[in-house]
Amino acid sequence: MGTEEKVSTEAEERSEVRERFPFAGELELPDELEGWEEMYPEYFQFELSEDRAEYERDRFWFWDKKDTTEPLMPWDMTISAQAWQIAMAQNTSRVFAIPPSMSVDIRVVAGYAYFSGIKVEDEELLKERSQIFKERSEYYYDNYDALYNGVWLPAVKDIGTEIRSLEVPDQLPEYVPGAVITEGKGQSDQTVDVIRSYNRLTELALEGWQRHFEFLYLAYLAYMQFTETSRQLFPDISDDAIGKMVSAVEADVFRPDQELNRLAEKALELGGDVPEILTSDRTPEEKIETLRNDEQGREFMDLFDEVKDPWFYMTYGDGFHSYKGSWIEDLEAPFDHLESKIDRLESGEELGRDFDKLQAERDEVVDEYRRYLGPDEREEFDHAYETCMTVYEYAENHQFWIENWLHTIIFGKMREFGQFLVNHDLLDDPEDVFLFNRFEVAELLEEACESWALGKGAFVSSRWKDRAADRREVFEAAKEWDPSPALGEPPEEVTDPLMQMLWGITTEKVNNWLNIESETGDETVLEGFGSSSGQVEGRARVVENSENIDDLEEGEILVAPLTNPAWAPVFPRAEGAVTDDGGITSHAAIVCREYGLPAVTGTGHATSLIETGDKVRLDGETGEVEILEKAA
């Protein structure tokens, strides 16, 4: 092949890339990823059959970077994608019948999720769904408080409590207890209990995820109608202004940070050795032990024990990744936060948000907008605003209660099963249990019971251990892999408001991805959503994942793929935030507005263009991020 010919082929390939993304079947996965398919349920796989491939190639799929920035382990897929898909889809399609949407279809590639929205276009069906939506959503809006505080929250807490109470033995006993005989039980409870507990756990996980979506769309739709009403009344209103009007919401997601503030204040109030112990070089476990042996320390620990459940049930990461762990299991983060909070208090700083002030500022802005309206318009505005404010807290609260609190409990219980399997010599490491999907774990447990039943010296297969080792390698390779931001042909226009608000997917952004796919990336200016106003210049700190969040130093600009609730305590250190993904209701946007920091979200690829130490300028008004100077 002549050079010339080769060049033209490359150019053609490039120009093709500009028009569309690869189809799933065209993806070239690294060799190390071979075998990933067997880890995930079949129905999540692309191009299973010819008719399915045809259907999938007709659609546009975007990588759900919000929830699978990193691949999901097979078991984690159980409570996220699996439980999630059913709950999300049926909420839009069969519970609330949101007229134009039948939710999103999900596929998985090497642990990364891809979504594709399904629109309803049949006029008759739209009409039918409008009627149902109207009746049902209206009921929820009118009774939100009673339904949320009276039913939802207790129900979610009950699910967590029941999961905790599920019995998982360390190991099955040598011989079953005599009561099997004396009480005429006729069965070995132990094996039945293990299987029952596991089945119940997966049921409860599914149930929790049903709850997850109960108010979620209602919250976003209320936000959307407020946005639309505001746009009608004030044609040029900015997203940022709308964001400001819905800020200062007293959501549970801010509680962990508030509780840490309370603990830091308590430490100083108690005095004695307490602040010193907390700011020492000791490990969290050593600190706790020392504190429990100290008079004031014990008082501190009383408060600590009181608040740790639920408020330290914060997962490292976004809540979907078991391997990231949580505060309560690894106290490194809360103790690091405590240390820096005590330092700040000692140097005379105030902690936390001045909530009253934030609310006063917000109310002032709302009042000012209202002042520009006539009486009818004002009534319309007030109605939309009140609805939004009634349910909006849910947009953040569900993240705390489901993704953090409940998931931590679920993952914790799964580790008990993992230990059980290690003790029965089927696995080497309790964490390996997450390398198997929901159905496989049921098999594993049955096999454990089966070989136990056969008695001492029975054959125990090593194939699960071997498979775990193989999968571990595949999974590590999946983490290194960089998936395509989307698959298939992009729509001319991305119109789905939820896609824009939640995932930050816009027509512009999709086109931007196409260009990045085809260009070298020498650009110095990135465009995203101006999600929290203000301009700032400073050194960047790129934080790819939660383990490194504590590297963020005072005065730096946080650059991250996305942020999540566990990061909230470090935000006060930052001067501003830039994210790859997420729209104006993403976590980073909401938290930055609460802390009064400028933010640009959904830039697409800030973390790949910006390096730690680069000098950047971000403009929360225009949504522009500029790299002023590369790090030496």
Binding site: I98, P99, P100, S130, F133, K134, E135, S137, E138, Y141, L221, A222, M224, Q225, E228, T229, F234, P235, D236, I237, S238, D240, A241, K244, E364, V365, E368, Y369, Y372, L373, G374, D376, E379, E380, H383, A384, T387, P497, G530, S533, Q535, E621, T622
Partner: protein
Amino acid sequence: MTEPTYTLHFEAEECHKDNVELVGGKNASLGELMDAGESVQVPPGFAVTTDFYEAFLEEEDLTDFITDRLADVDYSDDNAVAAASDDIRDHIENAQFPSFLEAALEDAWEQLQADDPSDDLQVAVRSSATAEDLPDASFAGQQDTYLNVRDFEEVKERTKMCMASLFTARAITYREEHGFDHDEVLISVGIQKMVEARTSGVMFTVNPANGDRSKVRIESNWGLGEAVVSGTVTPDSFLVDKPVYKIVDRDIKEKNIMTAPTDAGTEEIPVDDDRRDVPSLTADEIVELTDIAKMVERHYSAPQDIEWAIEENGDDKRFYVLQSRPETTWNKEKEAKSDEQQSKPSSGSQSTADRILDCL
């Protein structure tokens, strides 16, 4: 009868919108703006009142002279009107202010000088008409502006010229045609510190494009505001959300021409090459102007059309409001719209679900 007031500083309580017959419309509005809020600064100055004008004419026997001179004119003869105008204006301009009026004027002038930190006070002298129902363009004299005036002799001369401008040929004809009595029409003069504007322009406290009242549209150019006001240049333009100060739209133009002051008035000069493409306002200045717009609008309880200027000397930066009038287009539109809406059922009765369905 109350004591006559010959001069009145803008910040004086009496210099406000209900006292137009004493200080004229322009001076009254400047006085009014002084009360609009802390950050609304008006260039300092004072009004030479209609009491002053009347006393001047009376003491110098000009009242009778004017009445007599105009009584003989054949208004159908343009030359005759012009001759009468020249005659009257010469008389006014050549007369001397009686000593008590000159003393009052000098007092006011010295006070203005004393309050000026620069030691080189330069003022604009302009007439401030009292008859508001006279259309701007036809009421000659109202636009008379003398810039860069720096000594008392010149202040006196220019003040007299403003007063004389009440008797231009066009003004005389206009009054004749509309049945105004010449001796009942009065004039006030404003003596105001010159603003050496680095940047100036106008702002509307409503988006003129769509009537969105939560916005302010700021238009700006280098130098004095006349090029912007008259529309001879396309200025930089910024649309700002008033409650949150967010700039939702900005349009930076190539600015080739700006207005600069001369002794006789103003002239248009080319903008230096290196400033043509540069925004004529910084983000902070836009925020400050938005604040000013809000205060003025709130003071008048109606959308306003505001002229402003920024003066910058080293670190000293001052924002001045030069004028404000009601923004009429959208006020009328809004009234029309609300009439229309009254015949329709109120949208306020729509349910949340209905609203959501509307936007899905």
